[in-house]
């Protein structure tokens, strides 16, 4: 019997090996940079999907935690010079604390109020970053570079090693989130998303479930922020601006909310589109907008969800065909929400 946990771990290992082999095949530093940006945004978007897809909580302020991660990590490194792994853990702890405070207020609220209050908190933090110049550098951002002292023989000042390190963080972060959604808690979160009243009757603490999800999502968003600040060797107010949250929502819509890797697919799509379109078109926002509309109105779901449903429908049809049961037609197959 193959354990699903083992299967996930193997999948992660293979993904990491493929990423690690990439620099051997190409000397293109643009590709290397692309993967690092994918790691930062992918962690961020997947963490948002813990809330959107699995928790049914659409946050418009998730960029708060991405920005928080980049700034906390940058400031810790500039001011203390502690070993990088320790600084990362400390950053995640800071994000957890902030998420606990913000979440304690927000997760009680229903849909639209939740969305707007999370957005309000994000703008509050953004304003603090702009105003608190001695610590954050204000609208200039955290400049002067982030020191990257070697640890355990790893030197992140070297682009190739930074690449491997980012890929490792991405894979580990995704595996951790995959584990969360596959745990008893992950299924409790789905219950709360589907029917909070009934979940309450069954003895589930709805508020605590939502708050836990909010904190976990914040922690992994901050890890994305860490990767970003390592990549640009700084932190900028845009990381905590509302457009950052908007980008994550776009990514989730593009890639899909049901399949676990949907947001990862969305990240690659958005960055590809971004890089390609900005090169050829002047009003690249217009093109991106059109693509988003195509997904929202055309497919009515993210790309990976679309592919998964299509495969599922084909399988069901094949089964129905062999069993001679047309009733099981794929058409009445309801779309699954996050699995």
């Amino acid at each position: 019997m193959k354990s699903p946990a083992l299967r996930d771990a193997l999948f992660g290992l293979v993904a990491f090996l493929v990423l690690a082999a990439l620099p051997l095949l190409t000397t293109s530093s643009a590709l290397i940079d692309f993967v690092i940006r994918c790691a930062a945004l992918g962690l961020f978007a997947t963490s948002l999907n813990l809330l959107v897809g699995y928790g049914g909580m659409v946050s418009f302020g998730h960029g708060l935690f991405f920005g928080m991660g980049a700034y906390s990590f940058g400031i810790i490194m500039q001011r203390t010079g502690m070993p990088i792994p320790l600084a990362i853990l400390l950053t995640m702890a800071v994000a957890a604390m902030v998420a606990l405070a913000v979440g304690a207020i927000c997760v009680r609220l229903k849909e639209i109020y939740f969305a707007f209050v999370t957005l309000a908190f994000q703008m509050l933090v953004h304003s603090m970053i702009i105003a608190w110049v001695p610590v954050t550098g204000g609208d200039q951002g955290l400049r002067g570079g982030i020191p990257r002292p070697s640890f355990l023989g790893i030197n992140l000042a070297d682009q190739k090693q930074l690449y491997l390190f980012s890929a490792a963080l991405l894979v580990l972060g995704l595996l951790a989130m995959r584990h969360i959604v596959s745990s008893p808690f992950g299924y409790t979160l789905r219950m709360v998303r589907d029917n909070p009243t009934r979940a309450g009757f069954l003895g589930v603490d709805v508020y605590r479930t939502r708050l836990t999800a909010f904190v976990l999502a914040g922690v992994f968003a901050s890890l994305g922020g860490v990767v970003m600040s390592l990549f640009v060797s700084g932190a900028y107010p845009e990381f905590a601006f509302w457009t950052m949250s908007g980008e994550a929502v776009f990514i989730v819509m593009l890639g899909g909310t049901v399949a676990f890797l949907g947001p990862m697919v969305g990240t690659v799509l958005l960055l590809l589109l971004n890089d390609f379109v900005t090169r050829v078109a002047e009003h690249h926002g217009l093109v991106l907008g059109a693509v988003i509309l195509l997904f929202a109105l055309g497919l009515r779901k993210g790309l990976l969800d679309f592919v998964m449903d299509w495969r599922e429908a084909r399988r069901t049809r094949a089964q129905a065909g062999s069993a001679g049961k047309d009733k099981m037609a794929a058409a009445d197959k309801m779309e699954r929400v996050a699995t």
Partner: protein, 250 residues
């Protein structure tokens, strides 16, 4: 045994439950009937703790449950299925039951383990088997038929191992064939598990064929109680209720 004495609940000036005194023996199967607005659902809401009564007492095996929270009443052993099936559409039947059993075992917040917990499997499978959904355990709840969704709702109530099971119109909104299938399942469940089942039902054919004992509510009061034969021939019931309603239903 579930004993209700002098139970009163008013909404504004309306006495939805008006001095109701009833007893449901342990292991009995009882139907509650009554015209619309007779106070049947209010009565269930009082029993399950959704509302507190204005006065009167509800005792389960000798202990009063008035004033306890919904959760505590569930733990004491009063389970409830809803008029509109209250389920988790995006989970399969099996996932639903495994997650519900985790919650019942107070393991629902666990992050360290993998779902499903091995300790939840037997109980979940047992509850699925009790309502006859074993063959559909991998079906998405949203794709179940109306009747099967109702049975899943009942299975969710069974997770908590109730002594008393309250079913609010278990066959509402179904075609005739499905109605019989669901109600037969309910009777089978009652026979096998020896739990006390109280159900509200509008379909008189079902009530008279299934329930060994019937209580009739009208304007919040108990109008009659007895066997199907006694209810059928009770002049007060015929006048207040069956005369019009039965013809309409037939």
């Amino acid at each position: 045994m579930l004993e209700i004495t002098n139970l009163v609940k008013s909404f504004g000036g309306v006495r939805a439950t008006d001095d109701v005194t009833l007893t449901f023996a342990t292991g009995s199967l009882t139907a509650i009937i009554g015209p619309n607005g007779a106070g049947k659902s209010t009565f269930f809401n009082l029993l399950s703790g959704a509302f507190g009564p204005d006065s009167g007492d509800i005792r389960l095996d000798g202990q009063s449950i008035v004033g306890l929270s919904i959760g505590e009443i569930v733990r004491r052993g009063i389970g409830r299925a809803f008029q509109v099936a209250s389920i988790f559409p995006s989970l399969t039947v099996e996932e639903t039951m495994l997650a519900a059993v985790s919650a019942h075992h107070r393991q629902s917040a666990r992050l360290g383990a993998r779902f499903p917990l091995p300790s939840t499997r037997d109980h979940a499978a047992h509850c699925i088997e009790m309502v006859g959904l074993t063959g559909k355990r991998d079906t998405l709840s949203a794709n179940l038929s109306h009747g099967d969704q109702k049975l899943l709702d009942i299975a969710l109530a069974l997770v908590l191992e109730p002594k008393v099971l309250l079913l609010d119109e278990p066959t509402a909104g179904m075609g005739p064939e499905e109605r019989w299938r669901v109600i037969e399942k309910v009777r089978e469940l009652w026979e096998r598990q020896k739990i006390t089942v109280v159900f509200i039902e509008h379909d008189m054919d079902i009530v008279f064929r299934i329930a060994p004992s019937i209580r009739v509510l009208s304007y919040g009061r108990v109008l009659a109680e007895g066997t199907p034969q006694e209810i059928r021939t009770n002049p007060a019931v015929i006048e207040a209720y069956l005369g019009t309603e039965h013809e309409a239903a037939a």
